[in-house]
C-alpha cells in the first residue's frame, strides 16, 4: 500500500532533514510556524484579557488596595439576615462571610433558585460565588452570581448549573 514516491515531483523542495516523523521542506516549516505562532498569540492575549483572581473573602479584604480595577471571583456564605432584595428592580445586597472576614456585596439580576441565606429547615448554608470588582466605597460590585448547595452531588450539579447561568452578562 505504499504510495509511489518521487513521481511527478517537479516541485519537490529540498528536504530540510528527516525527523523521526516526516520530512519537511522550507515552506512547510514556515507554514507550520505561522499557525503555531498564531495559536500562541491568541492564547497569550486571551489569558491576559480574561484572567480573574479567585480569592477567599479575607484575601480580598487584605489586598483591597491592590485589587481596584481587577476582576475578582470570590466565594463565601451570606451573613444571616443581611440579605436585602428588591424584587422589582432585581437589586440585591448582602454581606459575604468566610473565615471571619466580611465584605458587603451588591448585585443586580436574577439569582439561582437555591440562592438565599441560611435555611434552618434543611440545616444547610448555600455557598455563594460572585465575580466582579471592588469599588472605592468598600463594597464588592458583582456582575455574576453563582450558588452551590453544600451536599456533594448537589454541589457539583449546581456548580455546573450556575456557572452557566452567570455566564457572561451581555
Amino acid at each position: 500500500m505504499k504510495a509511489v514516491r518521487g513521481q511527478g515531483g517537479t516541485s519537490v523542495e529540498q528536504a530540510l532533514g528527516q525527523g523521526g516523523g516526516f520530512r519537511l521542506n522550507k515552506r512547510l516549516v514556515i507554514g507550520i510556524g505561522v499557525i503555531v505562532l498564531a495559536v500562541a498569540y491568541l492564547l497569550v492575549n486571551g489569558l491576559r484579557d480574561n484572567m480573574a483572581y479567585y480569592l477567599e473573602v479575607h484575601e480580598v479584604v487584605d489586598r483591597q488596595a491592590s485589587l481596584s480595577g481587577q476582576r475578582v471571583r470570590m466565594g463565601g456564605n451570606i451573613v444571616n439576615g443581611s440579605l436585602i432584595s428588591n424584587m422589582q428592580t432585581l437589586e440585591r445586597s448582602f454581606v459575604l462571610e468566610q473565615g471571619g472576614a466580611t465584605i458587603p456585596v451588591q448585585y443586580t439580576g436574577p439569582v439561582p433558585d437555591i440562592f438565599g441565606d441560611f435555611d434552618p429547615e434543611t440545616n444547610s448554608q448555600v455557598l455563594v460565588i460572585v465575580e466582579g470588582q471592588m469599588h472605592g466605597d468598600g463594597a464588592f460590585h458583582a456582575t455574576s452570581l453563582q450558588a452551590q448547595c453544600p451536599s456533594r452531588m448537589q454541589a457539583k450539579l449546581a456548580a455546573a448549573n450556575q456557572a452557566k447561568q452567570s455566564g457572561t452578562p451581555q
Binding site: 500500500m1 505504499k2 507554514g31 492575549n45 483572581y53 432585581l90 436574577p110 465575580e131
Partner: protein, 662 residues
C-alpha cells in the same frame, strides 16, 4: 446472600480474568504459546458476559427498588417513573464507572470477535491492552467505589435523583458521552499493539478506521445531547458554557476530529504516521481524563484531587499509560518510515496538516484554560481563572480558519494542485461567498458575523459544486438518471462524500452558533399580571399563574401570551417544580422554536402576589445547531456503510467503467 452480591462477585471474577487475560495474552504472543493467547481471548468474551451480568444486576436493583443497596438508595426513589429509575444507573460515580466498564467489555468482545481471523500478530496485544484498561476500571469498581455496596439495613424508600437529571436529555447524554470516551480504547489498543510488534504498516490503520468513525460519531451525539439538555433544563439561555466538565468532554472529540483527517494522509500518502499515532494516544488519555473529571469534579482545586477517592487511581493510571505509550513511541521512532516530504503547499495533505495544527491548537487552548486554576494555584499559590470569553476569544478565529479550510478542501488534490485548477474551481464558490459577505455585512453591520456566514456559504458552494461535477461526469459516461448517478458517486468513495455531508452538518451548526451567540437578546424582568414586555420581535403578556400537581412533584407555572411581529403565536408556560425530597426547586424552561429564532423563557423565581421574575432570551437560528447535528449522523452512516460487493470488485476500475453498486 442477596442478588446484588452476585453482581459484586461478577466484578471480582471479571477483575481476576482481566488481569489474567492482560498477562497471558502478551506472554503467549511473546513466547509463541498459542493456548495462552486463545485462553486470554476466551477470557475477554467471558468478561463481556460478566460485565453485562453485573450491569443487569444493578439495573435489577434499581427496578426492584432494592434500597438496601446504597447506590440505588441515593439515586432513586419509588415516586420516579421507571425509565428515570433505570437511567439513574449512570446518575452517580459508581454506576457510571460500571457502565463504562460494561461497554468496554462488550466493545472488546465485539472487536476481538470481528477480528478473530485477522491481524493475527496484532490481536494478542490488542487483547492485552483492552484487558489492562478493563483491569484498571475493575480495580476502581471492586476496591474503591463499589456500586454494590450494601447498607446495614434496607430503607423503605430512596432519596431520589436530582430533579434536573430527570429529563429525557439526561437519559441519553451521559451514556453516549461515556460510550464515546470508552470507544477510544479500541483504536488505542490497536495502536499500542502496532507499536509493540513493530508492525507499523497499514494494518492498524485499516483495523481502526470504522472504530474511530464510530467513536467520533457517538461522542458528537453525546456532546450535542448534552448541549440540548443544558439548553432545555438549565435556564441560562445557551447550550454551551465552556464549563470545565464540558471542556474535558470536548477535548477527546477535537483530537478525534484531527485524527480522522490525518489518518487519510497516512492512508493515501504514507505521511504523518508518528503524528497520527500520537493523536490516538492523546485522544485515549483525554478520554480517561474526561471520565475522571466528569465523575469526580476535581477541577475546582488542586486539593480536591486528594479528596476524591478515585483521584489517585486515575492519576496513576493516566501517568502510567502516558509514560508507557510515549516510551513505546520513542522506542519505535527509528522504524516508523514516512514517505518523502510534501510535494507542494497547495495540496490536500497540506490542508489536512493545517487542519490538524488548528484543531490541536483549539484543544491546547481549551485544555490550558481548563487546568489554569490548578496550574496557577500550584505555581504561585494564587488561583487565577478564565471564563467563557477566554475560550470564545481564542477559539473563534481558529474555528473560522477551519471553516475556510473545510471549504477549500474539496478543491485540493492530493500531492499538488495547480494554481490554474484551483482558480477555476474556486471562482464560483468564492464569488458566492463574497456576495454573502457583502449582503450579511450590509444587513448586520458586524464584520465577524459576515465573515462567518460567508465562510459557511463558501463551504456549501465548494461541496455542492464537487457533488454536481461528480454527478454530471457520471451521467456523461453512464447515462444514468440523476438519483442513480448520485448514489453511484457516493458508493464509489463513501469516505469522501460521507465526509462532505458531515462538513455540511458542521457548517449548518456554525450558522446556529454564529446566530445565537452574536444576536442573542436578553432581558431579566419582574412583571405583574396583565403587563407586557418586549424582547426583540417578541411581545409577551403575563396572563396569570397556576399550580400543577403531579404524582411526584408540584409545579408553579406562569402563562404568557406571545406575539411575534404582530402575529399571535400561542402561549408559553415556564414552570418552577418542587420535589418533596429535594429542598431546591428546579425549573422547566419554555421554548418556542421557529426556523429563525427561539423564544426562551425561564422563570427565575416562582410567581407570587400576581408578579413573576423572568429571564427572557431570543436566540436566533439556534434550531440549526440540532439540524446540523443530525446531518453528522447521516454522514457517518454513509462513511461507515459496508461496501457492497460489486463495488469492491470494480474497485480501481477506470473512470466511466460500469459500476453496478446499489
Amino acid at each position: 446472600m442477596v442478588v446484588s452480591d452476585i453482581g459484586y462477585l461478577a466484578l471480582l471474577l471479571a477483575f481476576a480474568l482481566a488481569v489474567y487475560s492482560c498477562v497471558a495474552s502478551a506472554v503467549g504472543a511473546r513466547w509463541r504459546i498459542g493456548e495462552l493467547v486463545t485462553s486470554a481471548r476466551n477470557a475477554v468474551w467471558a468478561n463481556s458476559i460478566l460485565m453485562v451480568l453485573a450491569a443487569g444486576i444493578l439495573v435489577y436493583g434499581f427496578l426492584s427498588h432494592d434500597y438496601g443497596l446504597q447506590y440505588v438508595l441515593s439515586h432513586s426513589n419509588r415516586a420516579m417513573p421507571w425509565y428515570y429509575v433505570a437511567s439513574a444507573f449512570w446518575g452517580g460515580q459508581e454506576g457510571s464507572l460500571l457502565y463504562w466498564a460494561t461497554v468496554l467489555g462488550v466493545f472488546s468482545g465485539v472487536a476481538v470477535f470481528l477480528n478473530r481471523r485477522r491481524y493475527a500478530r496484532l490481536m494478542p496485544y490488542v487483547i492485552s491492552v483492552l484487558s489492562g484498561v478493563m483491569a484498571f476500571f475493575l480495580v476502581v469498581l471492586v476496591f474503591v467505589t463499589n456500586p454494590f455496596q450494601r447498607m446495614p439495613f434496607a430503607m423503605p424508600d430512596g432519596q431520589g435523583l436530582n430533579p434536573i437529571l430527570q429529563d429525557p436529555g439526561m437519559m441519553f447524554h451521559p451514556p453516549l458521552l461515556l460510550m464515546g470516551y470508552m470507544s477510544w480504547s479500541i483504536p488505542f489498543a490497536f495502536v499500542i499493539a502496532a507499536l509493540v510488534t513493530g508492525r507499523l504498516g497499514m494494518e492498524w490503520v485499516r483495523a481502526i478506521r470504522r472504530w474511530t468513525l464510530t467513536a467520533w460519531t457517538i461522542q458528537s451525539a453525546g456532546l450535542l445531547l448534552g448541549g440540548w439538555w443544558a439548553y432545555h433544563v438549565l435556564g441560562w439561555g445557551g447550550y454551551w458554557g465552556w464549563d470545565p466538565v464540558e471542556n474535558v468532554a470536548f477535548l477527546p472529540w477535537v483530537m478525534g476530529t484531527a485524527f480522522l483527517h490525518s489518518v487519510m494522509v497516512v492512508e493515501k500518502r504514507g505521511k504523518l504516521k508518528v503524528w497520527t499515532i500520537s493523536l490516538v494516544i492523546a485522544a485515549f488519555l483525554l478520554a480517561i481524563f474526561g471520565t475522571f473529571v466528569v465523575r469526580s469534579g476535581v477541577l475546582s482545586s488542586v486539593h480536591s484531587f486528594a479528596e476524591s477517592p478515585i483521584g489517585p487511581y486515575f492519576l496513576a493510571f493516566l501517568a502510567g499509560t502516558l509514560v508507557l505509550s510515549i516510551g513505546l513511541l520513542v522506542y519505535r521512532l527509528p522504524s516508523i518510515r514516512d514517505e518523502e516530504g510534501f510535494d507542494s503547499l497547495v495540496s490536500r495533505e497540506s490542508g489536512f496538516l493545517a487542519n490538524n495544527l488548528l484543531l490541536v491548537g483549539v484543544a491546547f487552548a481549551t485544555f490550558w484554560g481548563t487546568i489554569y486554576p490548578l496550574i496557577s494555584e500550584a505555581v504561585s499559590n494564587t488561583k487565577l481563572t478564565v471564563g467563557p470569553p477566554f475560550y470564545e476569544q481564542v477559539n473563534a478565529p481558529l474555528f473560522f480558519i477551519l471553516l475556510l479550510l473545510m471549504g477549500i478542501a474539496p478543491l485540493l488534490a492530493w500531492r499538488h494542485t495547480t494554481t490554474a485548477a484551483l482558480i477555476k474551481n474556486f471562482r464560483i464558490p468564492a464569488a458566492l461567498a463574497l456576495l454573502a459577505l457583502v449582503a450579511t455585512f450590509a444587513l448586520t453591520q458586524r464584520i465577524f458575523v459576515a465573515l462567518g456566514f460567508s465562510g459557511v456559504v463558501f463551504v456549501f458552494g465548494t461541496i455542492i459544486l464537487d457533488y454536481a461535477r461528480g454527478v454530471s461526469t457520471r451521467r456523461r459516461n453512464t447515462r444514468e438518471s440523476y438519483p442513480e448517478a448520485l448514489s453511484g458517486l457516493v458508493a464509489r468513495d463513501r469516505a469522501r462524500y460521507g465526509g462532505y455531508v458531515v462538513h455540511l452538518g458542521i457548517a449548518i451548526i456554525a450558522v446556529g452558533i454564529i446566530g445565537s451567540s452574536a444576536f442573542q437578546e436578553h432581558k431579566d424582568i419582574n412583571i405583574r399580571e396583565g403587563e407586557s414586555v418586549t424582547v426583540g420581535v417578541y411581545t409577551l403578556t403575563y396572563t396569570g399563574s397556576s399550580v400543577e400537581r403531579l404524582a411526584d412533584r408540584e409545579g408553579d407555572c406562569s402563562t404568557l401570551a406571545v406575539v411575534r411581529d404582530g402575529q399571535y403565536m400561542g402561549a408559553v408556560t415556564p414552570m418552577t417544580e418542587y420535589f418533596p425530597n429535594f429542598p431546591n426547586p428546579s425549573s422547566k424552561v419554555a421554548i418556542l422554536t421557529t426556523p429563525l429564532d427561539d423564544l426562551y423563557v425561564f422563570q427565575a423565581s416562582k410567581p407570587q402576589d400576581g408578579q413573576v421574575t423572568l429571564s427572557i432570551f431570543v436566540n436566533p437560528l439556534t434550531v440549526w445547531v440540532w439540524v446540523g447535528g443530525s446531518l453528522l449522523f447521516i454522514g457517518y452512516i454513509i462513511c461507515a456503510w459496508p461496501e457492497p460487493r460489486p463495488v469492491r470488485v470494480t474497485y480501481g476500475a477506470p473512470e466511466g467503467a460500469t459500476v453496478s453498486g446499489s
